[in-house]
């Protein structure tokens, strides 16, 4: 019992994959505990899919090993694959009915007909596609096919579920609906899951833990709030949505409050550690904007005067690019923009809390 709690369900140790002499994947260590959902995020070409193929035991690494419950997987891939399931970006259904598709994996495992059918129908209904049981897979829409594909994976009652960008080819409403269903199923089954995605919102919504993969290396792992709020380096910061990164010099420290100087402004941050220089990181949603002379409400310790450079609408919000000696980005609602009468060239004050500032020591 003790072992089951401490030994990771699945782990990659020193896994290296080379293509054309170049290491496209070089994972020092990645561990997935039983029952947790790990979201692997990273930009396109970071090696996310390659990592997933390794974890799914569909490709062998050039160096290192994948461990299943602490023991090397090499040599028993087929047996272990039958305890896992994978869903890819494309539904990859076979040219048969929806039901026959969901039954295929069970048939390969020698599950008897009645049980096969029962499980297949249950999972088709769980993903809301019972009506597609008798339909040929050729006639399904993208969303329908991906639901059948998910049912096919869950019908195997896998110990480990591997998802490779399963929603990225779907339109927004379909994607939202399927993510909602998957979230419900996962929190019920507590299936150990690795989700590969380039979508930060998807990762934050489904992942208990997030691993950031850039250039084939795992740069950071942690809870979503930790990774998104406190990225370890500039590249991770850029990928997780930190839009303002500025170099600063520490001028004083007191009671956990660090005062820094950046482009002529003093900035206060709540941070620990001993270093003389740091990168100041700010997420756009943590920055608010007010007009000059107006009273700034709230507890924001940092108030920087600046000038609006550009306003870019993004759905219900807008990105406001501000020049205050360095480039600062804020995200505020379009309603606030109207209320403040913001326009390019306007003099404003950008404010943010000391706790919103994340420092990367340099």
């Amino acid at each position: 019992m003790g072992d089951a709690l401490t030994v990771p369900k699945l782990s990659a140790r020193g896994v290296v994959v080379r293509r054309g002499g170049r290491a496209i994947l070089d994972v020092g260590s990645l561990e997935i505990a039983a029952g947790e959902v790990v979201a692997v995020i990273g930009p396109n070409g970071a090696g996310k899919s390659t990592l997933l193929l390794q974890l799914a035991l569909l490709e062998r690494p050039d160096a290192g090993e994948v461990l299943f419950e602490g023991a090397p997987a090499r040599g028993r891939e087929l047996r272990l694959r039958r305890r896992m399931a994978a869903v890819f970006q494309e539904p990859l259904l076979l040219d048969r009915t929806g039901l026959a598709n969901v039954e295929t994996g069970l048939r390969l495992r020698g599950v008897r007909r009645e049980e096969r059918r029962g499980r297949a129908l249950h999972w088709l209904s769980r993903f809301g596609v019972s009506a597609l049981a008798g339909r040929s897979s050729r006639t399904l829409s993208g969303g329908e096919a991906q639901r059948v594909s998910l049912a096919r994976a869950f019908a195997l009652e896998p110990e480990v579920l591997l998802l490779d960008e399963p929603f990225s080819a779907l339109d927004q409403p379909t994607r939202e609906a399927i993510i909602g269903d998957l979230h419900g199923v996962l929190s019920e089954t507590r299936t150990t899951t690795v989700l590969v995605t380039h979508d930060r919102d998807e990762a934050a919504r489904l992942g208990d833990r997030v691993a950031v993969l850039i250039d084939g290396r795992v740069r950071q792992t942690g809870a979503p709030s930790e990774v998104f709020g406190a990225p370890v380096d500039e590249e991770v910061a850029a990928f997780v949505g930190v839009e303002t990164v500025v170099a600063a010099t520490v001028i004083s420290r007191a009671d956990g409050l660090v005062t820094l100087l950046a482009a002529g402004h003093t900035i206060e941050a709540v941070a620990a550690g001993e270093y003389a220089r740091a990168l100041v990181c700010l997420r756009p949603e943590d920055v608010s904007v007010s007009t000059r002379g107006a009273h700034v409400a709230g507890s924001a310790r940092n108030k920087l005067p600046g000038r609006v450079r550009r306003i870019t609408p993004t759905g219900a919000d807008a990105r406001v690019e501000i020049d205050c000696g360095f480039a600062l980005t804020a995200r505020i609602t379009r309603r606030s923009i109207d209320d403040l009468g913001l326009a390019a060239g306007m003099e404003i004050v950008a404010s943010f809390k000391a706790t919103a500032v994340h420092l990367i020591p340099k």
């Binding site: 193929l53 799914a56 569909l58 087929l78 694959r81 039958r82 896992m84 399931a85 994978a86 890819f88 494309e90 990859l92 076979l94 040219d95 048969r96 009915t97 295929t104 994996g105 390969l108 495992r109 008798g134 339909r135 040929s136 050729r138 006639t139 096919r152 195997l156 591997l162």
Partner: protein, 256 residues
Amino acid sequence: MDLIWEGLRDAIRMLAHNENSVYSIAWRSVYVSGTATLISLVLGVGLGAGIAFRRFPGRMLVLTLVNTGMGLPPVVVGLFVAIMLWRSGPLGELGWIYTPKAMIVAQTVIATPVITGFTAASLAALHPRLRLQVYALGASRLQMLWIVLQEVRLPLLAAIMAGFGAAISEVGASVMVGGNIAGQTRVLTGAVLLEQSKGNFGPALALGIILLVMMVAVNALFTWVQLGTQRDRRGATGADAQAAQRAPISSPWATR
């Protein structure tokens, strides 16, 4: 025109009275070509899967050879197989020359590249990740192959028809390695050749018609299976007949 009517009359008469042992000749044709097609199917599917799924040095060369082989001149095959099976040849000890076995070997050499080429092309056209998905569902290597072959069942049926057509319709190789011996190695094509060379156009035409009718019958059977597969694809609701129409029926004779 008289010649044609005469041929038709002869054909009916020969079939009615089993003249010139026409039934045993026809049966031998089916037996030799059918066996050759079955062996070619096993070899061709294996080779085709290897070419489609594996990356190996010389793959391009193998593919070129297979493509060339799809139009291999039967006379050259006959010559090569005859040399191999000749009493003093490398495989002479088998004693197969001038037996149906030699004809099966020759027709296998002719039909295998046809089935290999069709199989490789249809498997290569599948989504490259489909194989990974099938493995991820828990398939062993053989199970994976079985499942993806079902995915290409329509082109595979076309491959079988093309292979059988290539085997049963060739004459050069069969006569060269079989000897066209009455009652032993005479098949329909050889019989047509013999009757024509003797100036017996009636019986020659009759035998030719019998060969054609047989080929139509065999292909009607396979086409019926193909269409049945397409009907299944529409699924229980039968909603999308157009989807089934999108998959064309390849002409089995396209390679000849």
